[in-house]
Amino acid sequence: MEQIVTKEQSKSADESVLNLFWAVLKRDLMLAYRKKSDLFNPLIFFLMVATLFPLGVSPEPDFLAEVAPGVVWVAALLATLLSMDSLFRSDFEDGTLEQTLLSPQPLFIVVLAKVLAHWMMSGLPLTLLAPLLGVMLFLPAEGMSGLMMSLLLGTPTLSLIGAIGAALTVGLRKGGVLISLLVLPLYIPVLIFGTSAVQAAVTGLPLAGFFALLGAMLALGFVMAPLAISAALRISVSG
């Protein structure tokens, strides 16, 4: 009898955690949808780079094909980095972050949902749009799948790492710079492996190693980052 109760209790606890996750995810996506800017900013930036780069540097297909993996990845990284600062700032400014911290629900889950929402508005559309960019920059067709896969594995890591920086700086009036300084060093490995993967795909070298590395980083980030983010948020708000 007792066991059953415990099971049921834990089941309902699981359910409430899931509900929480959905509620937060839904709210953040809705906010992004209403505000539009959050939704499109990373995308627009991404597209802007892809249009301006050939215009400003050189429109030659051969040249573009060569630099495409790097350009796409640098653009994706910058797009994510630039959208990071707003992740917790608006919540901080209108007091909803306080309410979140004062809730009995596990902060871990809330944070994870928020990061997922952020990724769905930055990393995911970037990944989906990458083939278009690839075409615009004459990336050889063989590289396409490598590009998408590497972005799919890499951008969530970028969101997770960036959220740590956002949480650490949310209480400060001088957020923008610091966040780049804190986060960029940890972005560099992702960038290096990401572009290497695409380049390997273009030249037909084996890819599994790069994907394994990107996957490992994602797994590590997935486990550790929410803890760091939660701790950083509590610290920032209490200051």
Binding site: D94, G95, T96, E98, T100, P104, V110, S238
Partner: protein, 211 residues
């Protein structure tokens, strides 16, 4: 004797080398309505943020139902309703969506009551307008609607009457008294003249400030 909910011992806090309060000790029990008083900048907000666990910029001990509050944080948060200077209302969401989110964040809150609560704070008809099209007072009413939703025992309200019209203030005052009668506890600040003056305990911070 009524049960003590919050117990504060020898609280000390300073900001920028200005001592806001020292040796502050008091107990808030079920059934009490406590008004924290003091002039602008005397540290009322600071005290309420410390009590609610938002700030740890202090020395001293705080107990919740007899236990150090740090050890029973989850229990404490389950029984706490905090209303701060920033009302925690998202401008692009509607009143209803704002409260739905609040309900999701607080397991005890019944989401089905949201429409009733909005009615009670006079926002009937505005459920679907995004909050940035509401007036200043209406925005704060969205946040005050939480008072009708939550089952929290301890209410910590930082100037809840700001921008609220006279009728609204009278209702909220009554609500605080009712909450205390039902065994709750309210700690709040305001600069408004209150109608329920006799029924509340006062804690004056001006007298507590160091030099």
């Amino acid at each position: 004797m009524s049960t003590s909910l919050v117990q504060v011992e020898n609280l000390f806090c300073e900001r920028d080398e200005r001592v806001l309060f020292e040796d502050l000790s008091f107990t808030a029990s079920a059934g009490e309505v406590i008004q924290v008083e003091g002039q602008n900048g005397s540290g009322k907000t600071t005290l309420l943020r410390i009590l609610s666990g938002l700030s740890n910029n202090f020395e001293g001990d705080i107990f919740w139902k007899g236990q150090p509050v740090a050890d029973v944080r989850d229990d404490f948060f389950r029984e706490l309703l905090y209303f701060g200077h920033h009302p925690g209302v998202k401008a692009v969401l509607t009143p209803e969506e704002n409260l739905q989110w609040y309900a999701a964040m607080h397991p005890g809150v019944d989401g089905g009551l949201i429409n009733g609560a909005l009615d009670k704070v006079g926002l009937c008809g505005y459920e679907d307008s995004p909050c940035h099209t509401l007036s200043a007072g209406q925005n704060r009413r969205v946040s005050l609607a939480r008072l009708y939703l939550s089952h929290a025992k301890l209410w910590i309200l930082d100037e809840p009457f700001t921008a609220i019209d006279k009728k609204g203030v009278a209702e909220k005052e009554q609500l605080m008294l009712d909450h205390a009668d039902r065994g709750g506890c309210v700690i709040f600040t305001t600069h408004h003249e209150l109608a329920i003056g006799e029924n509340i305990r006062r804690l004056n911070l001006d007298e507590l400030a160091g030099t």
